[in-house]
Amino acid sequence: MEFTLLAAAAFALTGLYAMLWWEARHGNASRCSGNLFEVAITSAALGIFIGRLVAMILDGVNPVTHPADVLLVRAGVSTVGATLGAIAVFAWLSRRELVPMADGVAAAALAGLAGWHAGCIARDACLGTASDLPWAVAQEGSAITRHQVGLYAALLFGVAAVVIAVWKAYRWPGFGVPASAAIAAAGMIRLLTQAMQPSLDGGPVWFYALGVVVGVLGVVWFARARRIERQN
């Protein structure tokens, strides 16, 4: 069963790489010298590892006495731990040019998340809460039709990735703005789709809301800094 998670990871890598490939042909790489793909996948992989450790600790499984359990990704990864871990690793790897690197990977990270969520097709994990909408579907043997929340999230992340990539390529909004907009978009999309996700505890809604606030504040801050710089 873990192989279906690897298939979803392959979808994510494809989204990430495809967006970086397109952006490299539209001036994305000119603003930073680091290898965006390597930094992004290293951050994502270590983020998942950190998220898994956090989930184990929160669930009362000691990672020191049960180290093999870290491989059981399906048993749970803390979204908060994984996200903060990935951001911390990314910040450390690109510390000399953090903002340009973050801008460089902003659209690709959203495309990677689109790929990850689209991977629900391979995992047979697209269905969410019950719905009567015309496109809702039921799982085999059931009469309850459900939101295809995995596909909703994939679509929204995909649209956000394309919007930010095109924005960067044809109307550069200034340093820090694409990265901040990507954080706000990711938080908003997770906030919108979380209510439709089957969950035992409702998920870390506060964290997604915090992401929206931090992202919007970042956009305002960097846009203002650019305006002041232009005036001077």
Binding site: G76, G141, A143, S199
Partner: protein, 121 residues
């Protein structure tokens, strides 16, 4: 027990020597608290020693409303249509009709979705 239950039943097959069972135990505990009174959670301990099972329950199911049964021969899951491997999670409608069978470690999304099917189906 399954045919006489008025509530839906989630039957988890586990063993203390099973590493993946250890990792899914917190999810089952969380589900037992979340759906207390709506779904009957049952743990079936297979091919295990009583002391190992008791230690596992006290370590990984504290405060969980899960009934635990023992099957030292490990034949019951096969008779129910499962396999010899663990973990397994069976989902039964009230009256004992098997609704869904999950092989291997179960994730939160699948557990929540299948319980929702039992409760609202």
């Amino acid at each position: 027990m399954l045919s006489e239950s008025a509530d839906p039943v989630v039957l988890s097959v586990w063993a203390s020597w099973c590493v993946p069972c250890r990792s899914e135990a917190p999810l089952l505990s969380k589900a037992s608290r979340r759906y207390d009174g709506e779904v009957r959670m049952v743990g079936l301990n297979v091919r295990d020693s009583p002391s190992g099972a008791a230690a596992f329950i006290s370590e990984f199911f504290p405060g969980a409303t899960i009934e635990h049964l023992a099957d030292s021969g490990g034949t019951i899951p096969i008779e129910l249509g499962g396999s010899r491997g663990v973990p397994l999670t069976f989902f039964y409608d009230p009256g004992g009709e098997l609704r869904f069978l999950h092989y291997g470690v179960i994730d939160e999304r699948t557990l929540a979705l299948q319980i929702d099917e039992l409760v609202n189906g």
